[in-house]
Symmetry: C5
Subunit: 308 residues, 5 copies
């Protein structure tokens, strides 16, 4: 995620970081060159292109706006829902931790060790879910929190976050059997586990179910067709301004397309994706400080305006 | 569901799989031929068509965009809600399984056999719901999970998924009567059954209540009228480019129409529908691995970019 | 609700059932005749109408699209929410029935008779709510289910569905007093009653609170003004094509208006309304089959593509 | 709220009640006169105004549509959410009443008197919330329901509805202390009180947090600028039709603006506001009939198509 | 937040307070001067700019409207969600207070002192969350409510609102251990704490996750390009009216951009932000009056139409 103040006036045009310009630069260049060629042809062979051609383009433009607008809304909603789900993960993690600390009588079940283990399992769940969504290796983070014996168990599992939830469930079950928690409270705890399952399922849904491929084809083909035919349509009205106008059109439409593409899958590590690492770290700090620990890791800060 | 990387530049135009082009090819061809004919007539009988005709078409185009945009949003929302409901099915299946394993004292009620039966009933519910929505035969899947005696009972039922829920309810009731589960916990379990009922009702709603037929007529008639009158309107401005433009217009509007049509009923087996088979298989793997089974079925992978 | 396959190509234009054409036919005819008259005048008194008049109409068209689009979305959302509420009714009815069968110890409270009565009261609630929303007489359906003594009580009531809920509440209260149900379970049951109340309140809201009347005036007046001035504006550009274009414009805008009007109040019995009768019948079949009855009514099937 | 059948054809244009025309009449008149003046000037000094001026206006019109569309959606959503919240108030009032009647053992706590008092307090809450939102005096309604002693207490309170909730809470607390209600049921009752608090907070939110003032300025200034410059832009294309067109434009845009303004704060007593009085009366009838009372107030009916 | 009556007619144009004009004045001025220069050039070197150039601008305008419309909706939704979350904070604070007063037997746990401390902790939470979101010092407010010993604890905490929740949890835990509250009620109380955590997480989400930076760049660059090229495109059609038109265009598009920018982060103290101070004060008054206190702070009133 990019965090920087709003730039003013001219500086606005020279920001590269976080801009989609690098991604679509080659397309903008191509359309601009095409526009130049068309303008050159028009200059030497006057009136080759019909002067009214711009009108049909205009309502084609309305259709394209519809397509891009739809795709953009869908992508943004996925991105924002992903952030909301991660917010729910934070709430559930904090609340379950608070309840564990408040309502379990740890004197009956291993005292501080069990308490700490339960909370660190929740922290580990956060890290594991992040690695799972980003397809990175979770073992360093998990080993630091839970030790190597748990790592061995988890390495054999189909789905690491799921298995951590099972481990939490087993610990709570143990507490219940030793009567250190009431039958009523355990059901309340369990609902938090259901909520965590639901966060995970929602994140998997967003990650694994892209916007239907046929949309992507329809939107992109239309965008290409539009930008490649635009020069022919506008050259009669704009003359030498054609290349400039082509560049702006290409930037506008390819840019929105590229941005929608980036937001559609918000768990990656590109510049506009969600800062999962910073969020997980912050949860770790909060939960461990609720345990009373004082040597806490540092929050992650943006590097060159980018928070990972 | 189609899973493939975003193609680049020219390759984009040669993808057929997942594209709506084959579905609307004949219509595109017809409109293009019409455009050619009109352009030919215009060439021989100059100025037959009024040069300003494009302006009225433009605001007709705005109305059409409104219609197609509305229908497209409604279809996409149905498709996405369907996916969300299936996600809820996964959450409820996993959570009920976890609670069954954690909070039932199976020593009092048949031990591992009962436990396994309960979990397999939940797996069977997932398969049965899929077959129910796709109108396919569920018996192979159910027999493999539950054995032939249950199949006999279910074959006599009005509604297979409903009856499986009743079987789960009866098993849980039996556990309650033998005091292997607390009165409080059973209500919590029961709420998961209510949630499963709610997923099923939502899927039936999406499947059985199409977008009102009159919309379909209004949208499609307008699309046809628009594409069939467009050549006459634009020929004066575009001349020989008319057929090309007709092809693009037809692709754009018929394509969006065809795609909306496909997404409206997302439980089918066409290329852009939801991969219910892969989702159910994954749930089966997850639930059976929670039972401690090690010989699990394999996840379903995309075949030629298509996940069923 | 209309259930029929998507028609193809030309057949599309000859479907009357479910189409809004009959409703708006007179308006289309009027606008077309007006267009003919204007074209005739233009033909004899050339250049009477300014050729550029179409441009102001175009942006008036944008405003009209905005109005119609808004109203259409609002109507469709009401229709779809109504269907969702009815889905919730199904879920709550089924779940309450399942819980009644599972968790009440009927040996203490009249055995099968009480059980059957409770379930039939829920079925009767479904029928009563349908009749209440459609303002039809519920007595036949209720007498067949509950007998004449209950009909007598209900005939004296202000609000039949409400009173049936009270009857269910009284039966459950009786079960509680005779200790045939736990204090905890009864609260869970009661929440289903609250949900049924909430479904009813939502249906009443949709039925009794139309989209503000001033919108209807604004939308309809603008539609009329637009369609009646369109011929004057386009005749200079379209000449003899004016009547055809007028017909299409009138169909498009009056058609959308008529359709929105029909969907706004979705509980009626017009062709695009919700099939409440079929839905209620299906719930009756499901609930009675959960009671173990075998002589069940038949599901309602579409008659001439229409499901009531 | 206005309740009347949809008028047909010409009659549509002569409805004043519920129309926004009276509110915007002076503005429509002004713009029309301006249009007449401009057309007169154009007639005497031909070609004063550039004939192409309408094109820039058209895309200014798109921007204005965007603004008005946004504001209109936001206002309508506030109006509809307000109605939903009031529906929730009805559900919670009815459900709490049903539970009070079913689950409190009134023999231990003052019998019918306490029961009646509890239900009338809920009725009083409904009336008090209505008066609170409409800033009218609630004392007549409250005294008729609760008597003068409660009125004295409530007159000293900061917030009347809040204090009625506290009185209900105190009564329920009394019931709990005398063991006439189970510890479990009381929590369920209490959740209804939380829901009532939530309805009240939502209504206060809608009432006290208008759409940001800067939007209002932006939308209105743009509307004025647009309507005041339109005559100059269209006179070249429309000639003598200019005043007519000005009137339509002014009606369309000022009308939507006035309507959005009215819906933004839906708790007032203007023609398109919510019929809080009728809704409260209906709740009073329902709740008192649940108490078994037979002398009930009459439902409020529309007077000259208006329900207050 | 700005609270003032809707101004009429001409006065509308002279309101500065709450308007975005001061923010965008320099840009409007620049575009107007550019327009003047272009009109001057056109006047001396006639026909320099192609007369049809306005058509391509028009559909560029459609794209820009799409961008601005999207960003505006996203910003407004953030602002409105923030207000809803704060409403939820009010509901949870009031409900928890009501339950604490009703269901805790304070005779066993320090009597009035504990009760008052619990309620003041909730008040302090409201103040602390406000200061946290606005990044201001909370110590004055907190010391006035809780005294200096708590301030000392909180000054050492990572996250002040979180720590206040922990303090509330500890007090409630103490009540549970001394049996002054039932096991069932405590879980209900705890759910309110979870809800408060969820409000805080949602506010942090809105504050810390801006709309993706790349959108801002895309929207703003397009706005600048549009406003800076508009004069060249329209000068041929509008002649001497060009500067006026430029001013209006710049006001419209830069104004919407500036307003979206302000609403995107609604917890600040600019004129259109949420009146957190007034809301918190009102909650303080309500909660303390529920404690029976009579010397209450005064509600905060708008100063020069602005409520902070």
């Amino acid at each position: 995620m990019i965090l920087r103040d709003k730039p003013h006036a001219l500086r606005l045009f020279f920001i590269i970081k976080g801009s989609v310009v690098p991604i679509v630069a080659s397309k903008i260049l191509f359309v601009t060159l095409l526009g130049t060629a068309v303008a050159w042809v028009e200059y030497y062979y006057s009136y080759l292109f019909p002067p009214l051609a711009v009108a049909p383009m205009a309502f084609f433009g309305v259709a394209l706006s519809l397509f891009l607008g739809f795709r953009n809304n869908a992508s943004y909603e996925r991105w924002w829902e992903a952030r909301k789900q991660w917010g729910k993960l934070i709430v559930e993690s904090k609340s379950l931790t608070r309840q564990i600390i408040s309502y379990i009588d740890f004197d009956k079940v291993g005292g501080e060790t069990t308490k700490k283990r339960l909370v660190l399992l929740i922290v580990a769940y956060n890290h594991a879910l992040r690695h799972y969504l980003r397809k990175t290796e979770p073992w360093n983070d998990i080993e630091a929190l839970l030790g190597s014996s748990d790592v061995k168990i988890l390495k054999g599992a189909e789905n690491v976050p799921d298995t951590i939830l099972l481990l939490i469930g087993m610990e709570l079950s143990g507490c219940l059997q030793k009567d250190s928690i009431s039958d009523f409270a355990i059901q309340n705890f369990d609902n938090h586990l259901t909520q965590l399952t639901s966060v995970q399922a929602a994140c998997e849904r967003i990650k694994n179910t892209p916007i239907p491929f046929a949309y992507m084809l329809l939107v992109q083909r239309t965008t290409y067709l539009y930008c490649f035919t635009a020069p022919f349509a506008i050259v009669a009205s704009l003359g030498v301004f054609t290349p400039l106008f082509c560049a702006v059109i290409a930037y506008t439409f390819f840019g929105l397309d590229a941005l929608s593409d980036e937001l559609e899958e918000p768990f990656g590590t590109s510049a506009n994706d969600l800062p999962l690492e910073a969020l997980t770290r912050m949860t770790e700090i909060n939960l461990r400080s609720m345990l009373g620990e004082v040597e806490l890791p540092k929050p992650i800060l943006p590097v060159q305006h980018i928070l990972t």
